[in-house]
C-alpha cells in the first residue's frame, strides 16, 4: 500500500473544489435543455467529485458526502426513475416513454415533454453517479490511507 502523502495543499484545494464541481454538475444536468450536457455528463461530474474526496481526504470523511453503502442501491434507483417515467406515460394513456401523456393536469404536451426530458436526465444522472462511486468502492477495498 502506498503511503499517504500528507500534503496540506492537496487536501485543502480538493475540499475547496468539490462543492464547485458539484454545483457545476447540477448546472449541467438542469441546463441540459439549452446547452451541451445532460444526465450522463452531469452524473459523471458528480461521481468524479466524490471520487476526488475519496482519494484525497480518505474514506471516513467522504462517507459523510456519499456513504459507500448507498452506491449500488442508488444506481438501481436511477434506472428505476427512468423506467417509472415511461410507465407513468403509459398510465396517462400513451405508449411507453411518450412524455406527452404524463398524468399531470393543466400542461400542454410540449411542456410535458420538456418536463419528461428533465425527469429522465435526473434519473440518468443519479444512476451514472452512483455506478461510478460503486465501481470505485468495489475496486478500492479498504482505505487508501491506512
Amino acid at each position: 500500500m502506498v503511503q499517504r502523502s500528507d500534503s496540506i495543499i492537496v487536501g485543502i484545494v480538493s475540499r475547496f473544489m468539490v462543492p464547485l464541481i458539484q454545483l457545476f454538475a447540477l448546472y449541467v444536468i438542469a441546463h441540459g435543455h439549452y446547452s451541451p450536457g445532460g444526465g450522463f455528463q452531469g452524473g459523471a461530474l458528480l461521481g468524479a467529485s466524490v471520487l476526488l474526496l475519496r482519494l484525497t481526504v480518505g474514506e471516513q470523511p467522504s462517507n459523510l458526502v456519499f456513504h459507500k453503502k448507498y452506491g449500488t442501491p442508488m444506481s438501481g434507483f436511477g434506472v428505476f426513475i427512468y423506467a417509472a417515467v415511461g410507465v407513468a406515460a403509459m398510465i396517462g394513456g400513451g405508449v411507453y416513454l411518450d412524455y406527452a401523456n404524463l398524468p399531470i393536469a393543466g400542461m400542454e404536451p410540449a411542456a410535458l415533454r420538456s418536463l419528461g426530458i428533465l425527469l429522465v436526465e435526473t434519473g440518468v444522472g443519479i444512476g451514472v453517479m452512483a455506478t461510478m462511486i460503486a465501481i470505485f468502492d468495489d475496486l478500492a477495498k479498504g482505505d487508501f490511507h491506512d
Partner: protein, 102 residues
C-alpha cells in the same frame, strides 16, 4: 520484424489519409446526412428532428431531444448497461461480510 511493423504502420496511415480526403465536406448542405430525403427516396429523420424539435418540446438543444425523447429507448438501454457494469463489479469484487480481507 521492427522494420516490417513500421512499414505496415506507414502504409495504414497513408491509406487512412487517402480515405479521409474523399470524405464529404463537413457541414455541407448537400451531404447525404443533411438532405431532406434519404438515398432511398424516403423522408429523412434528421430533417424532421431539426425542424420540429423546438416546436414539439420547447427544447432548443436538438441533441438532448434526440437522446432523451425521440430515442428514449436507446438511452434507457444505455443506462441499463452502465447499471449492469456496476452490478457485475459488485458481484465479483464485493467486500466479504465476515470481515476476512480478500
Amino acid at each position: 520484424m521492427k522494420l516490417l511493423s513500421y512499414i505496415l504502420l506507414l502504409t495504414f496511415g497513408i491509406l487512412l489519409i487517402y480515405a479521409a480526403n474523399k470524405l464529404p465536406t463537413r457541414g455541407h448542405p448537400d451531404n447525404p446526412i443533411n438532405r431532406d430525403t434519404s438515398l432511398a427516396g424516403t423522408p429523412a429523420a434528421s430533417a424532421h428532428y431539426i425542424r420540429n424539435a423546438e416546436k414539439e418540446m420547447h427544447t432548443p438543444n436538438v441533441v438532448t431531444t434526440i437522446l432523451a425523447d425521440y430515442r428514449g429507448y436507446d438511452t434507457l438501454g444505455e443506462t441499463t448497461v452502465i447499471f449492469c457494469a456496476g452490478i457485475v463489479v459488485f458481484l465479483i469484487l464485493r467486500r466479504q461480510r465476515d470481515g476476512s480481507k480478500v
